[in-house]
């Protein structure tokens, strides 16, 4: 159970007064994201996301497994998120709280059910073996807006991941190592991201990318999941006091603009990493050659 320290009356009133003057605790405007930094590890599919103080690490891994009997053509894609005491002292290790179920549920809806990863491309041999892609999300620091940060992490991880190449020769599947054959990227159909809004003052004030204190002081939260093309794949107002319907309409346009901005940041980071690997790759081969020369 999540017993984060309750907000004091002074803090709640102050945050509300500040928002009425369009001022936020960290000087951002209502529709401004916190600074987002994305960094990639050496293995493919290892992403570190830092959104303000909220930080997380996503690891994507692939394995050959037997497809489900009812869908022999499809591969399997699963997202596993476990909130540990590393993210926040209030979370308990080994016990699933309702906050964890809520975030995992939204993440599943936005990315898995919207078929962001085409599972048919994961099938190797119909009914016998297919690729199982597993995305592990480790929350290393929670300061609000966990859903958006996790979506960014998982989507960046999927686009960064390369699975080993597999070939079928007369019923026998041959999996080539990463160093033998160029690994294959995943087939991403579209790039959905979620944007969470928090409302104050019966929906008159709506802010984006709230910190933990702003989340605790807010009355309701609205989550909109959409992709670059503007197709909404997830829309939810889960709890809290009622929100005027027009908020959904006006905020969806803001959400689309933010999703494009975020996908731009992800793509830029991916290019930078590809360039580094390509340069690194050449250096690697160069070193390998002169190793052979010397060796």
């Amino acid at each position: 159970m999540n017993k984060e320290a309750a907000l004091s009356v002074a803090e709640r009133d102050f945050i509300l007064d500040a928002l009425r003057e369009d001022v936020r605790l960290d000087g951002r405007s209502a529709d401004q994201l916190r600074p987002l930094t994305l960094s990639f590890g050496e293995e493919y599919g290892h992403v570190k996301v830092q959104l303000g103080k909220t930080s997380l690490i996503v690891r994507i891994s692939a394995e050959v497994a037997k497809p489900h009997d009812d869908r022999p053509f499809d591969g399997i894609f699963s997202i596993a998120m476990e909130l540990t005491a590393m993210g926040s002292p209030a979370w308990e290790n080994g016990r699933q709280g309702d906050f964890e179920t809520y975030v995992t549920n939204v993440l599943d809806r936005v990315i898995r059910h919207s078929n962001a990863l085409d599972t048919e491309s994961l099938c190797v041999l119909k009914g016998v073996s297919c690729w199982t892609i597993r995305a592990d999300v480790h929350i290393t620091g929670y300061d609000g807006n966990l859903i958006d940060a996790s979506c960014i992490g998982v989507m960046a991880g999927l686009q960064h991941f390369r699975r080993p190449d597999a070939v079928v020769k007369e019923g026998q599947v041959i999996v080539y190592g990463i160093d033998e054959k160029v690994p294959v990227p995943l087939n991403i159909t579209h790039k959905p991201l979620s944007v969470t809004f928090h409302t104050f003052d019966e929906g008159k004030l709506v802010i984006l990318d709230a910190t933990r204190k702003e989340e605790q002081a807010s009355e309701a939260d609205v989550v909109i999941g959409l992709n670059n093309a503007g197709d909404v794949c997830y829309l939810s107002k889960f709890s809290g006091s009622p929100v005027d319907a027009m908020v959904f309409v006006t905020k969806t346009t803001v959400a689309l603009e933010k999703v494009k901005e975020l996908n731009g940041i992800i793509d830029k980071a991916l290019q930078a990493d590809l360039a580094k690997r390509a340069k690194g790759g050449l250096a690697e081969q160069a070193r390998a050659e002169n190793d052979r020369l010397i060796g």
Partner: protein, 275 residues
């Protein structure tokens, strides 16, 4: 003294770092432990040795004949007597308020009469979520005993100049316990000694916000700072947010005095407070 001595748990404190006047009893601060000889052979008198239990810089205070370890600043606050803390009332019973000093630890007990001039009838009305500036009276004996805090000096019955008591309005910001200790030492030390604590942010802000009506600040040793600029009507909120942002930025990036000044001017400009 030479470059400060950094100790790791298990290291012994070399005798030359002990404070000079051996007469007065040596007071041990946090992070140190006195070990005695396990099996004192009858020949030698039982040997005593001071060892560290936390990693940090050894700081000796010759005036108060005390020696302690300055360990990492992001640790969790453990209530110690005579510390000034900002507590948040959680619930109240017949004659006690139960307040939270640090999250995820048991509540501290605050007597409803331990306020200045509080009597049976005129006791302060505090509900859940109110903030109180109090001093830690005692941390109880034995394991898991309750921590007792009070807003009045039990001896004099008056709250010291620090302004203990309920905190109305304003905003509270979270900072690291080490930075809070530095702020307390800086604000309590006479102004020219502020340089020693390497903190000029407070008087810098004081100068800059003079025209706008100045601000009130209360620092809790448990890593909380209460700021209130209610007497500068229009930009009260923006001034408070500016102060909060300056303190958290300095705490996070460990800025030196010159950067602190640059930061203050930049943030005040951003918050559009004409100084």
């Amino acid at each position: 003294m030479s470059s400060p001595l950094i100790l790791l748990p298990g290291d012994e404190v070399p005798t030359d770092y002990l404070p000079s006047n051996g007469s007065a009893p040596l007071r041990l601060g946090p992070g140190l432990r006195l070990l005695s000889e396990a099996h004192p052979t009858p020949a030698s008198t039982s040997k005593h040795v001071l060892t560290a239990t936390q990693a940090g810089i050894l700081s000796t205070d010759n005036k108060r004949n005390a020696i302690s370890i300055l360990s990492s600043s992001n640790r969790r606050y453990v209530p110690t007597p005579n510390d000034l803390v900002i507590a948040q009332v959680h619930h109240s019973s017949v004659d006690y308020f139960y307040c939270m000093i640090t999250p995820q630890s048991p509540h501290a007990v605050l007597g409803q009469l331990s306020f200045e001039g509080a009597t049976k009838k005129t006791r302060p009305m505090l509900q859940g979520g109110d903030l109180v500036y109090a001093r830690v009276l005692s941390t109880g004996l034995g394991a898991g005993a309750e921590v007792e805090i009070a807003c009045v000096n039990p001896a004099t019955g008056k709250s010291e100049p620090g302004g203990l008591g309920p905190l109305k309005g304003g905003m509270v910001f979270d900072i690291s316990t080490g930075f809070a200790a530095r702020l307390i030492r800086a604000s309590s030390a006479p102004s020219e000694q502020q340089e020693v604590a390497g903190l000029v942010v407070l008087d810098e802000l004081g100068k800059k916000l003079e025209k706008v009506g100045g601000f009130e600040i209360a620092v809790g040793r448990n890593g909380k700072v209460w700021v209130d600029c209610s007497n500068s009507e229009d930009n009260a909120v923006r001034a408070t947010v500016a102060i909060g942002r300056c303190l958290t930025a300095i705490d996070e990036h460990n800025l030196n005095p010159t950067d602190q000044r640059k930061l203050v001017t930049r943030i005040l400009r951003e918050m559009k407070i004409e100084s």
